[in-house]
Subunit: 274 residues, 2 copies
Amino acid sequence: MPQKRTAFFVSDRTGITAEMLGHSLLTQFDAARFQEVTLPFVDSVEKAQAVVKQINERAAEDGARPIVISTLVNTEIASVVGSANCLFLDCFDIFISPLEQELAVKASHAIGRSHSMADFVNYHHRIESVNYALSHDDGIATRDLGQADIILIGVSRCGKTPTCLYLAMQYGVQAANYPLIPEDFSAMQLPAQLKPLKRRLYGLTIRPERLQQIRNERRPGSRYATLANCVFEVREAEALMQQEGIPYLDATSKSVEELATTILHEAKLVRRIY
Amino acid sequence: MPQKRTAFFVSDRTGITAEMLGHSLLTQFDAARFQEVTLPFVDSVEKAQAVVKQINERAAEDGARPIVISTLVNTEIASVVGSANCLFLDCFDIFISPLEQELAVKASHAIGRSHSMADFVNYHHRIESVNYALSHDDGIATRDLGQADIILIGVSRCGKTPTCLYLAMQYGVQAANYPLIPEDFSAMQLPAQLKPLKRRLYGLTIRPERLQQIRNERRPGSRYATLANCVFEVREAEALMQQEGIPYLDATSKSVEELATTILHEAKLVRRIY
């Protein structure tokens, strides 16, 4: 029976970086069972002292000191947290020293600097692109389709919507999506609205068995969700995309992040958010 | 004139962790101008060799060796990349050793482990919650509103939609949103559908000047976008939320991540995605 351990991800901001890094580090250790706790917005010495208390209590409960992964920028706050009964892994401390040496300048240790200046611009781009994705979801608006950086196509329920939203949220890309439906397959032609935009199309496909599962949750027992229909639609959609020379990805075993990142890089899209 | 430097974020997966960590580290150094390049899906020795070539060419162009921040899990691939002419900061190498010592087990160094098993469950939760957010955006569907983990309220264009989508994407939370409109202010009552769900409501507010700006981009010159109307709506919405004891946040100078993370923690929502 492996020992129970707690991992704390501590940050003066959202904690998203600390938990992403920490979580992927911890998954490298099969033997231990971790309970993961994120503590965001630890931006004062008082809050840091409360964190120390929480870590120490957990150390006593678990009978093992917690692992603490921090992205605290302020050295005073970090040193308070680091005084707890834990293995303290401080991302800033670890990386800042070699960077200071390399660049021959001192780091500023200012909290939230990564957001402050760029924030308004990012916010604007993100809202714009989320609005764009929402108003160009599933082919609902074809006006302004020419303003899309990318238009995802594929059969209904293959993952186009979340991929568009992720492209908008994470990268500020204007992503529309347009379904391929049985009448496109009868004609073996792209929908008329998409023809002039062919170079901006990117396809998603999916294994028919997985598609059946997803559609069946949505519309149980429908013809739309039968395996036979899913096999047919996927085959025809792939044939159409091949015929038209449109690149496509299999979404079956990829996460939304992976789909969005792959499309960003393969289609050489320009991101507007960092 | 500060020296131009290139920073590469190299990963065998999406590179999102490496670029988030790397970007926030680099913003601590005002003096240098960085060009940031993300290289995702570097999952073979051949790809690593191509990366080395790219880094070395950039070193020659810049007249300074690039900074490389990597989350490569495979030690062979990492050591190829690390052989380039660069300052090589390897997150796994730096953190895995102290973790191995602490836990007294060896890390598995398996690529993509952080996604593999949990992927299907995460994918399902994310799709479900994105669908939920989309079908419960702006009060469009009140059916199933009781299934919401949280319902964001506030005046039109204060940031409810992107915050709901971020809660869905990042945390798998079922988030609905519902606008507060002038007729709610005349009655000084919550919309009827929301009354039985009061404990699940969370408000967003915004500075009227910022709201005016946003609304004016959307509907230039409309009464809806006048400062007077924005001042009125924001004041009334805040009064209503105070009267009803509904917690709320000022979205004016917060990023979408910060809003979502704050609400997650303050409302003690249970996340379904890690």
